[in-house]
Symmetry: C2
Subunit: 467 residues, 2 copies
Amino acid sequence: MKSPELFQSPFSGQPSRTTGGGRRSSLSIASDAFVFFSGAVAALLLVWTFSTFSNPQTTQPQPNPNLITHASNPKPEPKPFLPSVSDDVCAKNFDGLNFHDDPPDPNFYDDPTFGYTIDTKISNWDEKRKEWLKQHPSFGSGAEERVVMVSGSQSGPCTNPIGDHLLLRFYKNKVDYCRRHGYDIVYNQVLLHPQMHTFWAKIPAVRAVMLAHPEAEWIWWVDSDAAFTDMDFKLPLQRYKNHNFVVHGWPKLIYEKKSWTSLNAGVFLIRNSQWALDFMDVWSGMGPQTPNYEKWGEVLRETCKDKAFPESDDQTGLVYLLLKEKEKWGDKVYVEGEYYFEGYWLEIVETLENITEKYNNIERGVRRLRRRHGEKVSESYAALWEEYLKDAGYGKFSWRRPFITHFTGCQPCSGKHNQMYSGQSCWDAMRKVLNFADNQVLRNYGFVHRDLLDSGSVSPLPFDYPA
Amino acid sequence: MKSPELFQSPFSGQPSRTTGGGRRSSLSIASDAFVFFSGAVAALLLVWTFSTFSNPQTTQPQPNPNLITHASNPKPEPKPFLPSVSDDVCAKNFDGLNFHDDPPDPNFYDDPTFGYTIDTKISNWDEKRKEWLKQHPSFGSGAEERVVMVSGSQSGPCTNPIGDHLLLRFYKNKVDYCRRHGYDIVYNQVLLHPQMHTFWAKIPAVRAVMLAHPEAEWIWWVDSDAAFTDMDFKLPLQRYKNHNFVVHGWPKLIYEKKSWTSLNAGVFLIRNSQWALDFMDVWSGMGPQTPNYEKWGEVLRETCKDKAFPESDDQTGLVYLLLKEKEKWGDKVYVEGEYYFEGYWLEIVETLENITEKYNNIERGVRRLRRRHGEKVSESYAALWEEYLKDAGYGKFSWRRPFITHFTGCQPCSGKHNQMYSGQSCWDAMRKVLNFADNQVLRNYGFVHRDLLDSGSVSPLPFDYPA
């Protein structure tokens, strides 16, 4: 027999329990879809999908308070919701961190002058963090390598009809990466300073996360339009042990060309430190919330002649600080150019099939790389892989999976894009890149997207794939 | 001076670097917005938002391979990317779990007959899991309370213009809850069995997650249209120690009324066990991938006379199994009716202001509840709160925050909804509920939505709020 959704738009997903059957409504939905979505997206209409409405109720019974009985176990324990000792033990055992203990001894949170807003001055933060870590010993071990990722997008729906769908997928990609490596991720959808809009919004967000997560040594901002395309690769934190800020860039372009695109401020790693608070004070001092915003626009344009627009922006501001206050900040800023700390999608997207082929060839020759395993121990296979990736290199022309692919010049939410290429080429590339990444995740669940442009279809992986 | 976006649609977010200035495009964007969105959503146009395109580059320089130098630290360590010993130590210390070790000794993943698809038979799973945990001792402690959350939505964009935006916010809400409690979350956007669509899609997803996460005792399915509205509340796992499956429902309605809405299959907790695999085999045996799908539709309609549509569905199937195979399954199924394991939004949404007021009044009287703290130790404050919530009760008419608010009858993605209410009332309620939840998260970052209907605006919280 045919299953119901054969008669429906994939978008309706299930027979309507509320509009009297899916057939009629599916037609209008399908036609709407074609109005909304251009060619490549329309292709998605052909694949199996499922409704986000997985619960077929039209009404819900009003539970009668007298009906508080159970299918079995009729006597619930008294006060079942008070955390039991075992809860406490497990909270500690659960992941080695004690979520249940905040000693009464005062710490910086008890200081009335302490605040999360960008304009609140904080001093001696390093000592305050150390003190907090002493108070919370379970967070002490491994603190030096603890990373919290931060990303975000606007609080309202996108104008690009597929914009929010793409944002959802970019966010899932980040959560997948964080789950694999045990990182926390915070997604921010509000302006923590009402005037610090667009690319300025990340600074108050990163600052607030820093203060809410004294257990983390590093805060890692990753733009919403950047995707992890090597789920195995980890930040080489040892390399940054003498630095407080890491950004992708090209020193020659910074110090000789003085170009505003000599680095990319869309992805950065910043150490949870007093240095970072001071740096963000100075950096955000060029922002739209200051009386000097307009003046800074002029100064930055004088400094970086190729700057494409008059408004002061965080990226040119960063270049300015490296050029003009190098002695003050430069020594603690690591300009990473050796691997795709973030990489330009146009340079990357065409290489993905070749990279997949290279990796598959290696796996065919090495059984232990093909071994199935629990997702949580994936890092042990990443370590094995390194041995076979030695010759791959890291950046452009490398056949190593690029770490982060950044859709610089494409705006998934607004739908705007660099006139160098079409919007469609942006959205197609995003789908391809996100499916390439998703295949590294799905692998641990036994499935794969055979076609990187087909987000809806997966096939089960046979045993010992890809042998 | 005025900041740029005063001249722009909040949706454009930043001056266009690609279409020659934001002013003209912003007008068309704004008019589009009004075509797409009805009144309440249009209100979002008035709030500050920021573009998802936080990186103002129009073009990216092609890094010259000869430029691989650094602002400082010119000599990177050799093989910087091979996991160092310190990485290994930290991986273990990081959260007490050793992500780096998968011993060579064979386990179930090495068995060629083992597979992730719904039709792969698996036996002795409990022993196999135990064996895996023995191989991976760092995952052993706390394993009994380890939970992996699973949710998902369709692989393509929604037909409802704000559908994907709402899905993004529902997903963020789940990630926030999981971060606070140290749970992993897996979001699935593909059909792991091409014929198991709509509400059937979750079963193969839950099964695959179970097999990919032997370290987890419980898999927790939560529909994409359900939001955590009490970020503090934790599943009372001790209560379920003798059960393998937990679902929200009302036994009298199951066993006497035989109603298909006597329980809600949109949220369930299932123990990672052979029982679960067997149960899912039988449960999914009523699904669209089987030759008996049509027949099952008839059987379920005969069993539950109030079933609203002919197709066999997972929820009525669950009621059927409780009614007809109680002795086989019923004793291990815990029908939770005492708290909002999931709750009907229409019953909840109007109570949120009153609940907020109640909680604020309690906090005004108890300094230690108002104490600021790191997000990671929030559970210790949740424990303190219990003392003051004793009299609140848990379900309907309670002034305790409802645990999970479920938008039964509203389809955020398709835009369909129960004719009992307007679509607008669904989308407004979702915004209100998500902001209510978000306030519990933002609190740890120093901010609050003063107006639950205003997703875009937050205010900083003063010290000692709400005293």
